[in-house]
Amino acid sequence: MSMRVVAVKPLLYGLIIPVLLLATWQILGARGMISPLLFPTPSRIYEDFHSMLVSGELWTNLRISLVRALWGFLLGGGLGALAGLLVGLFRQLERAIDPSLQMIRMIPHLAVTALFILWFGIGETSKVLLIAKGAFFPLYINTFLGIRNADNKLHEVSRVLGFGFFKRSFLMALPSALPNIFLGIRLSLGVAWLSLAVAELLGSTEGIGYLMMDARMLGRTSVVFVGIAIFAVIGKLSDSLVRGIERRALRWNDTYRG
């Protein structure tokens, strides 16, 4: 089996179900068995997608959303990983801050939008921070648990070799936690991406989330679906990217491969 085949096969398998679903949807829609107002047919959605693409409207909004999601993810995810690392390494710190973080974790975005606006205004800050709030937790918890899942045997090795705090973190704890950290990154990216929908409510005039809200308000369902498809596809792409990096980074892992 050549490398090409290896890379293409999973893709083909993965396409089976989505393609079947889309085809069914298109056929049922075309025959009028699904309300085209509620669920415009894929071809209709594609037409809108195409015209938005050509007009440049799509790209402008997408770029803004991407930048927001990225900043939010970097900020929230970065802090989450850092906090997870510290809390994972220090029991005292865990006692001190983990309970509060666990409480904050459960507070819904929608309940605090007014407070975010009050504190951070309606500029980019509040949007990015709201996304960051969402992206923080999956990475925090996964990093934390990844570190706590580190094999004590290796921890003992690091002690015997006289590793200081930094070496212990970066040469022992962090690599041990890598599989979990990658998962955390994937979950955080997803959350960051989905938080856009709420964040772009906060006084936005552009962005994919805004576009969807607006279209929904005005009953332009096919535009809503363009947004949904973009969310899904870009989300999936970013996820696949992380998994690609993960596969390379975790080559050393001798684990079950299914």
Partner: protein
């Protein structure tokens, strides 16, 4: 001889688990002088690893005293090298990086020493291999090299040669004796092989199990290099064997005869 480098007094250690309590060590008394080569033997599960771990500073929560250089042992340190019973390599690092561990291979001095050690443990060609690509014995040799790189003042070895074939083992014994002689490293060496214990040790400590107690301490006054075939060697071997055999719980007829 002045005060001993390592002093162990009335050392007891027990493990409490949900189901029961195991007394791993009981009233151990042991002094180790600077530069000594102490070999420790004893039946499986008698507390050899536990003793080594306490000296390394990995296990605390024991009773009695264990002092190194007159100070209570508070934790592991770079001056105490430890070779674990299993290889315990970092799975994400290649052989050479595992040996270097926290030292950077970009440092030419480190690079050179790592290269030397790889040669010494006969792993040339496997510098870039990951632990999952090594055989059992190869992994064990990597962990030995890792401990040797650091030139510790005291080296604690927990059955380091257990997974090696007779020849590689003999080679590694020579390597170890060489290091001992050259650097004056204090060695505490746990083994299951009585020949090995006699061949290497300037003193042999025999433990008996449950509770782990010292059965005997035997000074080996044979000159180095020792010849395994010599009569004097065989004499010592028999003495150790006898002590070992008297360990009550393990006295089972004929089996011992052939060892």
């Amino acid at each position: 001889m002045g005060a001993a480098l390592l002093e162990i007094r009335e050392l007891s250690k027990s493990f409490r688990t949900d189901s029961k309590t195991v007394q791993a060590l009981h009233h151990i008394e042991l002094d180790v002088q600077e530069g000594e080569f102490v070999t420790v033997i004893g039946p499986s599960g008698c507390g050899k690893s536990t003793l080594l771990r306490i000296v390394a500073g990995l296990d605390v929560g024991y009773e009695g005293q264990a002092t190194l250089d007159g100070r209570a042992i508070s934790g592991p340190g770079i001056d105490k090298g430890f070779i674990f019973q299993e290889p315990r390599l970092f799975p994400w690092l290649t052989v050479e990086k595992n040996i270097a561990a926290d030292l950077s291979l970009r440092n030419p001095e480190v690079k050179r020493r790592v290269g030397e050690l790889i040669e010494l443990v006969r792993l040339n060609g496997f510098e870039k291999a990951y632990p999952k690509e090594l055989s059992g014995g190869m992994a064990q040799r990597v962990s030995i090299a890792r401990a040797l790189l650091r030139n510790p003042r005291i080296l604690l070895l927990d059955e380091p040669f257990g997974a090696l074939d007779a020849f590689t083992r003999a080679h590694m014994q020579e390597v170890l004796l060489d290091i001992w002689r050259r650097n004056g490293t204090t060695m505490i060496f746990v083994t299951h092989d009585i020949d090995e214990a006699v061949f290497l040790g300037s003193r042999i400590v025999i433990l008996k199990p449950r509770p782990g107690e010292i059965r005997a301490k035997i000074g080996v006054d044979l000159p180095y290099p020792r010849k395994k075939a010599s009569a004097a060697f065989q004499d010592f071997r028999m003495r150790v064997l006898n002590e070992f055999e008297r360990i009550d719980e393990l006295s089972w007829g004929e089996a011992g005869a052939g060892i």
